[in-house]
């Protein structure tokens, strides 16, 4: 579980910290830790949180004047206030209109630059670079009804409903679905990406803290959608090795037949480990939807 020593990291935006508190605290019932989108555990997620805060503050420059002037005008120019100036035919002012268009244009221009840069920086397909240039751990994730299968091709092991990851090491995921469209999401680590049958999507994540993080399919898929969840477990290198060994010792062979039984719609609470795993399983799952033929042009977007 979470350690008490884990504190929200807002180092980059120390000056705006009180502002964040102002917005977030009263709403969250004073429990900052439950705000998964802001209480981050990985660098991707931390950058997204910063983006949320910067944008929210920028938006306040629009919001506060609108609220202030609307209320002020409503009070000042109420019909019963005979003292206020009344110009019933005043309906045009070139100078004012320049400002009315100019203001939003400037704010959107700033946001546009921010968007361009952050979208490129936070592209989920982009490989992550961590201190010491660690090689990423490859994970093949397959969405099933209603569980997730995580395959570690480098180690020839797999797990259902649990995704182990060494801390401070990039995770490079390939994702597909053997059921309806899913969307994989681990709020404290960052991005969400769709999982679609016959297609492969990618996601790169990193955990900078140890811990167990809630993960889930966010795209509605029917009966057990709500109950379905998995845990992303960030652990030290040594513990990760032990986790792999433990999975290897499970003695459950994930062959074609076992995988077929796993794909049957069902909800599983428990974690199941598999080793060995049928090689190239994710590619086989993708190709079975394409009759083994090369994917057509339309699927290219998800295939980059």
């Amino acid at each position: 579980m979470l350690q008490a020593s884990e504190v929200m990291r807002l180092d980059k935006f120390r000056p705006v910290r009180p502002l964040v508190g102002l917005f977030v605290l009263p709403l969250a019932g004073c429990n900052l830790k439950s705000l998964n989108a802001l209480y981050t555990a990985g660098s991707v997620s931390a950058q997204q949180r910063d983006l949320i805060i910067i944008t929210a503050v920028l938006m306040l420059f629009v919001f506060i004047p609108v609220v202030f002037f609307t209320l002020f005008f409503a009070w000042r120019y109420r019909a019963s206030n005979e003292k206020a100036k009344y110009s019933p035919n005043w309906s045009h002012s070139r100078l004012l209109e320049v400002f009315l268009w100019g203001g939003p244009i400037v704010i959107i221009a700033i946001l546009g630059v921010l968007t361009w840069n952050s979208t490129h920086a936070l592209d989920p397909y982009k490989g992550l670079v961590t201190e010491g240039d660690k090689d990423p751990v490859r994970v093949d994730a397959i969405a099933l009804s209603w569980k997730w299968l995580f395959i570690y091709p480098e180690y020839n092991v797999a797990a259902v409903n649990e995704m182990a990851m060494p801390v401070d090491t990039p995770i490079s995921m390939r994702i597909t679905s053997d059921t309806a469209m899913n969307a994989i999401m681990i709020p404290r680590l960052g991005s969400q990406i769709f999982a679609m049958s016959g297609m492969r999507t990618k996601l790169n994540l990193v955990a900078n803290q140890k811990g167990r993080f809630f993960g889930k399919n966010y795209q509605y898929t029917g009966e057990h959608f709500a109950a379905e969840k998995f845990q992303a477990v960030a652990m030290g290198q040594q513990r990760f090795k032990e986790w792999i060994q433990n999975a290897k010792a499970s003695g459950q062979n994930l062959d074609k037949a076992r995988f077929a039984s796993l794909t049957k719609p069902s909800h599983i609470e428990d974690v199941i480990y598999f080793a060995p795993v049928k090689s190239q399983l994710l590619d086989h799952v993708v190709q079975q939807y394409n009759n083994g033929t090369p994917r057509n042009r339309l699927t290219k977007t998800a295939e980059r």
């Binding site: 709403l27 019932g29 705000l35 998964n36 989108a37 997204q48 983006l51 949320i52 944008t55 929210a56 938006m59 629009v62 609108v66 002037f69 005008f73 409503a74 120019y77 110009s87 019933p88 035919n89 005043w90 309906s91 045009h92 209109e97 939003p104 546009g112 968007t115 979208t119 490129h120 920086a121 592209d123 989920p124 309806a180 469209m181 969307a183 709020p187 404290r188 960052g190 990406i193 679609m196 049958s197 016959g198 297609m199 509605y220 898929t221 029917g222 009966e223 959608f225 709500a226 109950a227 969840k229 079975q288 939807y289 394409n290 057509n296 339309l298 699927t299 977007t301 998800a302 980059r304």
Partner: protein, 682 residues
């Protein structure tokens, strides 16, 4: 014989559904019984069901919308109650299947059977008189549109008693909405309810495009049109361009479901991403289809109740046009998480934000209109102020969601749910309530009670805030949308707050019902004798309330923006014309009603695989169209004498109003006098 329909299709075992069905049946029986008891079937049939009059069609659209608003709200309240009571260790009172039906039905009904008919209803009420026209360009087509919309709505109603409604969400994402995952009737009900009403909407689009472009009074150039008419014109351009995309997407999906095609299945060359693209190519413009007319209403209301010209008329028109144009280039922001590269996501993200510019300008223009004004806080103005304050929050969170880096986190979460409700409720719904309270006296000849209207406003505004602000926080806490149950205890308190919000909204709705009843009972006290209860600026206020069948005995001549205000200032507003002429008006016809009923049966047959019934209904539809096309005698004449008689009565009421000005109500005090009008007829 009956396809897959059997007695098992009735969900006997579900107490909640069966009581709703019972309630529906009792309500229906009461309506039918009362109509029979009072012997009103003939009146109903002659004056309403077969009517091609735009005012009556508008009213019938709005009645449909209010019925579905109640149903959609009950669904919402049930979902709030479920989520509040389905935390860890609890199970709530609904099955996950039933919960899915609720969120699918709620979304479908609120967008397509509340927002759309409200908007089309308001446009029907106000646009023809605003442009000085006697009716729409194609009055019969208008009736067809109405009854097709009713046919779609009735399919949703029937889905409660027979089979089930869709469970794939109102967006029906493939491949979950395909046969393989949702084989029951649900998705078929959803498809055909939308398809049939969607055809009606497309026809409305054509109808009003032609009406606005071709039926304007002499002198009313495009840049003199009232801003609500402008918003209607631009909305109808969007309707005509966007709805076919939905029709095609759902048509392809039904081919998948009926004939095992593989357009969107994900295998055999099918592509699920394609459906989502096509859906949002309609779906994003649809967002503006439901918001732009509301912007139009707010513009009219602001100018009227500020007793001042609208600030920046041209800017408002350009802003509308820019929003509409841009709305076709942003659909990808509904799925930034699908795996496109950063370049594509950035382009669509920035395009999305650019829409924020004209939208912001519009808000500033309404504020500028309030500057140096004389603001009267009548109900329509209250809804407008509530809109400006609350909608701005929705706009802010919209810009946030438009940034892919944030959307990666917030997509499919309660944050998203909070955002779109935050634009649709203060935007569309408040806008339509403003229009409802604004044009109600025009349609019925008496105003709506102010006191209950204010209660309703506060109920909705506070209720909305209490219900949806917690959802933003829940989104930040990582709560996904569409959860029938959950295991995180930290979500429960906020979900209880949201449920409380729904209760407060319910207070607002109850007040609106009381308001309607009380206003009908006090209709004499609230009567609008002049036709101009608010000091209006546009031509609809130059007619009597309720308007005569022909709207204007003599088509007015327009010399500028705010045509009626000009007339009042020039002293020509209440002048009697030298003489009246015969007026030709379209005849009522049952063809639209028959088409609607046949379309309902057609959809029902397809949903249950009763092919002979579908074919039969199809033939009836074709027959009705052919019969109507072969009818030459579609007009009738109101002789000049009768016109004079009706108009004499109108001027008698105006004269009466001027005698009673002090007595009637201080609210409409001296409106006519102030403008220096000749009050007595002639």
């Amino acid at each position: 014989m009956l396809g897959r329909l059997s007695l098992q299709a009735i969900p006997y075992d579900n107490v909640i559904i069966m009581s709703a069905v019972a309630l529906m049946a009792i309500t229906g029986a009461v309506v039918v019984g009362a109509t029979t008891y009072y012997g009103q079937w003939g009146y109903l049939y002659r004056e309403w069901l077969t009517s091609v009059d735009h005012t009556k069609i508008g009213i019938m659209y709005i009645i449909l919308a209010f019925v579905f608003l109640l149903r959609g709200f009950v669904d919402a309240a049930m979902m709030r109650a479920q989520q509040a009571t389905a935390g860890p260790g609890q199970s709530g009172y609904l099955s996950s299947e039933h919960f899915a039906e609720l969120f699918t039905g709620h979304g479908t009904m609120m967008i397509l059977f509340v927002a759309m008919p409200l908007i089309i209803g308001m446009i029907n009420l106000a646009v023809p008189p605003q442009i000085g026209a006697r009716d729409v360009a194609f009055p019969f087509l208008n009736s067809v549109s109405l009854w097709l919309t009713y046919a779609g709505g009735m399919l949703i109603m029937v889905s409660m008693a027979l089979g089930q409604f869709g469970t794939a969400g109102w967006t029906g994402y493939t491949p979950f909405s395909e046969q393989a995952f949702t084989p029951s009737t649900g998705v078929d009900y959803w498809i055909w309810a939308i398809q049939i009403s969607g055809i009606g909407t497309t026809l409305t689009g054509v109808n009003f495009l032609v009406t606005i472009l071709r039926e304007r009074a002499p002198g009313m150039t495009l840049m003199r049109m009232p801003i609500f008419t402008w918003s209607a014109l631009i909305t109808m351009v969007l309707v005509v361009l966007a709805f076919p995309a939905l029709t095609v997407a759902l048509g392809m999906l039904s081919l998948d479901r009926f004939f095992d095609f593989h357009f969107f299945t994900g295998d055999m060359g099918g592509n699920q991403m394609m459906y989502i693209n096509m859906f949002w190519i309609w779906g994003h413009p649809e967002v503006y289809i439901v918001i732009l007319p509301a912007f139009g209403v707010f513009s009219e209301v602001t100018a009227t109740f500020c007793n001042k010209r609208l600030f920046g008329y041209k800017t408002m028109v350009y802003a509308l046009a820019v929003i509409a144009f841009m709305s076709f280039g942003v659909w990808v922001h509904h799925f930034f998480t699908m795996g496109q590269d950063a370049l594509r996501n950035s382009i669509f993200a920035i395009a999305t934000m650019i829409i924020g510019i004209p939208t912001g300008v519009k808000i500033y223009n309404w504020m500028a209109t309030m500057f140096r004004a004389r603001i009267e806080f009548k109900q329509p103005m209250l809804w407008t102020l509530g809109f400006i304050l609350l909608f701005t929050i929705g706009g802010m969170t919209g810009v946030m969601l438009a940034i892919p880096g944030i959307d990666y986190k917030a997509h499919n979460s309660e944050f998203l749910v909070a955002h779109f409700h935050n634009v649709l409720i203060p935007g569309t719904i408040f806008g339509m309530f403003a229009g409802y309270t604004y044009w109600f006296p025009k349609a019925f000849g008496f105003r709506l009670d102010e006191k209950w209207g204010r209660h309703a406003f506060w109920g909705w505004s506070i209720g909305f805030t209490v219900a949806f602000m917690p959802l933003y926080v829940l989104g930040a806490m990582g709560m996904p949308r569409r959860m029938a149950s959950y295991s995180n205890p930290e979500w429960t308190p906020l979900l209880w707050v949201a449920a409380l919000g729904a209760v407060i909204v319910m207070y607002g709705i109850v007040c609106q019902i009381i308001q309607l009843i009380s206003s009908i009972r006090n209709r004499h006290r609230l009567a609008d004798l002049t036709g101009d209860p608010w000091g209006g600026r546009t031509l609809e206020w130059a007619m009597s309330s309720p308007p005569a069948e022909y709207n204007f005995p003599v088509i007015p001549r327009v010399h500028g923006i705010d045509a009626f205000m000009d007339m009042k200032e020039n002293g020509t507003a209440y002048q009697r014309p030298a003489e009246y002429g015969d007026i030709h008006m379209p005849q009522n016809t049952a063809a639209g009603l028959i088409l609607g009923i046949a379309a309902f049966v057609f959809g029902f047959g397809l949903i249950w695989y009763i092919w002979w019934l579908a074919i039969l209904a199809g033939l009836v539809m074709m027959g009705a169209v052919i019969w109507r096309s072969c009818t030459d005698d579609v007009e009738f004449t109101i002789p000049a004498d009768e016109v004079k008689h009706i108009e004499d009565e109108r001027f008698r009421k105006i004269a009466l109003a001027s005698q009673q000005t002090d007595v009637i109500d201080s609210e409409s005090r001296g409106r006519v006098n102030i403008d220096g009008e000749p009050l007595s007829p002639g």
